[in-house]
Symmetry: C2
Subunit: 367 residues, 2 copies
């Protein structure tokens, strides 16, 4: 097996393009939406009061000009971009192992989130058995959702040691192949197809390129994939994380020039609680690929999510709006858009990574 550094070198726009050809029949071409109300709100300077307690206190608030282009992966199959990577990884494993072989062995993953549903869907579509290890404490709706795609749900304790023990146990019996959620070459290429679609959809309405794209960073599959695709193009790529209880492991790692390996956070952006993966880090820590990662507070995430629900009328999960929250509230980022974008401003692509929430979860957030 090649080292992460060697693998990162093989992560090229062409690899993302190849992934796209493969997964295209299985995924939705999700819309790239605009919303003038959100452009207007984000293009209004913050109040002096909002900058109190930040390094920008007392300075004149930035006057960036944003035109947003929202890539609605909340409307993707299973409600999240994860459908891209899961289909790609599975198709590559079938390619490598042969369909008959894989039908015997099956695939396995441990996840309680969107990756579990995505792999279950991909496996059911491609007629491969899937074992999904989920903590016993997972919500019934998530268990039912995973089962509804025909996957076999196997319960475990909730620590990663307990989960991995159950995975090992099933693998010993079935020889099932592990499809990891983010720290994987094929997963990253699959998620990168989001960028390829955004570029094409933006080109339909503009003769210039997107000035920037910003995505959430959890394990880093989406961000690394998007950065890979844009690595030979003029579009800048940024990442966004929650700051709560150290969930901004990637941002902190970049400052320290060393990947943070462990995170324990209960941020409302529950898709972003994991530390960034090894291969993902190789890409994201490359300044030529990702120009910066910014962090936002829980209140900023909730404010951004409120705007998307109430003004744009689109349902997103908290993890999906961290990029928008950076554009609205991170004064360092806003200054940069003001300086580099000038009078014209920036066309910013924002990836709404998912929309898997419930009315109860929304109630809990805002009551």
């Amino acid at each position: 097996m090649s080292t992460p550094t060697e693998q990162a070198q093989a992560l090229t726009p062409a690899a993302v393009q190849a992934a796209y050809e493969l997964i295209k029949p299985y995924i939705h071409l999700t819309p790239l939406l605009t919303c003038k109300t959100l452009d207007k709100i984000a293009s209004t300077p913050q109040t002096a009061k909002a900058l109190i307690g930040t390094p920008f206190e007392g300075q004149t608030p930035a006057t960036p000009k944003f035109r947003f282009h929202f890539k609605c992966e909340n409307l993707q199959r299973i409600g999240a971009f994860k459908a891209r990577g899961a289909h790609h990884a599975l198709l590559r494993v079938i390619e490598a192992q042969g369909e008959e072989e894989l039908k015997k062995r099956g695939v396995i993953t441990h996840s309680s989130g969107n990756h579990a549903q995505a792999l279950a869907l991909a496996a059911s579509t491609l007629n491969i058995p899937a074992y999904i290890v989920m903590p016993e404490i997972s919500t019934p709706s998530k268990i039912a959702g995973t089962r509804s795609h025909g996957a076999e749900v196997v319960f475990s304790g909730s620590t990663s040691v307990e989960r991995e023990a159950v995975v090992a146990e099933i693998q010993a019996k079935t020889n099932a192949i592990l499809i990891p959620p983010y720290d994987d070459f094929n997963i990253i290429c699959g998620q990168g197809t989001t960028a390829l679609e955004m570029e094409g959809q933006f080109a339909e309405k503009s003769s210039k390129s997107l000035d920037a794209v910003i995505t959430p960073v959890g394990g880093g599959g989406l961000n690394a994939g998007v950065a890979t695709y844009f690595s030979d193009k003029s579009t800048r790529v940024f990442g966004a994380e929650p700051s709560f209880q150290g969930a901004d492991d990637c941002r902190r790692g970049l400052l320290a020039q060393d990947r943070v390996e462990k995170v324990s956070t209960l941020t409302v952006a529950d898709g972003l609680r994991t530390p960034v993966g090894v291969l993902n880090w190789e890409v994201i820590s490359d300044k030529k690929k990702v120009e910066g990662v910014f962090a936002v507070t829980e209140e900023q995430i909730k404010a951004a999510m409120r705007l998307v629900l109430e003004r744009m009328k689109v349902v997103v999960e908290p993890s999906a709006v961290v990029g928008l929250a950076v554009c609205m509230f991170d004064e360092e980022f806003r200054k940069r858009v003001e300086e580099e974008g000038g009078e014209d401003g920036w066309d910013v692509g924002i990836v709404f990574s998912g929309g898997n929430t419930t009315v109860e979860a929304i109630s809990k957030l805002y009551s």
Copy 2:
């Protein structure tokens, strides 16, 4: 002035077409969306248990087949179809009175809901002064929303007598012209443009016509307009109302063959608390135009709204989903789709009338 019956005769598809030519530059062509998950759920027979206590108790549940086409007026300007009627009515008044005259006099309405915002927007776009009489107890966000379009908000008590007194007072001073929310020829034609767009958008993907369209019925502007447009076509038109505290005034009026003039209800579908208007009734009570009006419970409205938010990822207000709730829960309607649609099923257009809700309102509904 012509009588309601004479006016109703002049309500023709051509009148709706003419309205469309006039308002087209001012409104959004909202998308007509599909959702396979909702098709599947609504095409699953209800449980025997769900029919207990209904006239269908003990019968085999209907097996209708639905393909939904959701007209997303929640994505219309000001977040509701009301933008159509308000622009049309105002453009017609300008046509009749002359722009200079109307700039002196202005327009006026009393409303605390979507019509207020719609008229405020239309007036600000067309540079006409607007006076909006709102009850003092209106929520601050609605007052701010109306003011943000440049309208002058004037407060009144909350009964209709108190509101009308304030309107009369302002009219005495300004000679402002009243633009009513629904009981008006031009408003009905404007709302009817929703149907015209649906027909065109459906034709882009199918060689047949929509089998049916179902819309909410409050004052009846939308339903009467849609029925007017389809009156010379094969598409059947239905209406949907909440049943809570007698909010199904139109359905009850049809049964009694007499319009119900007063309603006092606090249904969660707050856009549908008003009784159907006189001219609207002329259209809706014409069996050749509207084939039936059905009513749904508060729980059914909430269940339908939950599905739209969680599965379709689109934000709608409770009033918007009464049509979907009829398709999902009204066994009489479902039997009809089974019988008339047969194996093929029906392509049903559902108008999502608006999306003006807040995260707090969603929290209140589901906590």
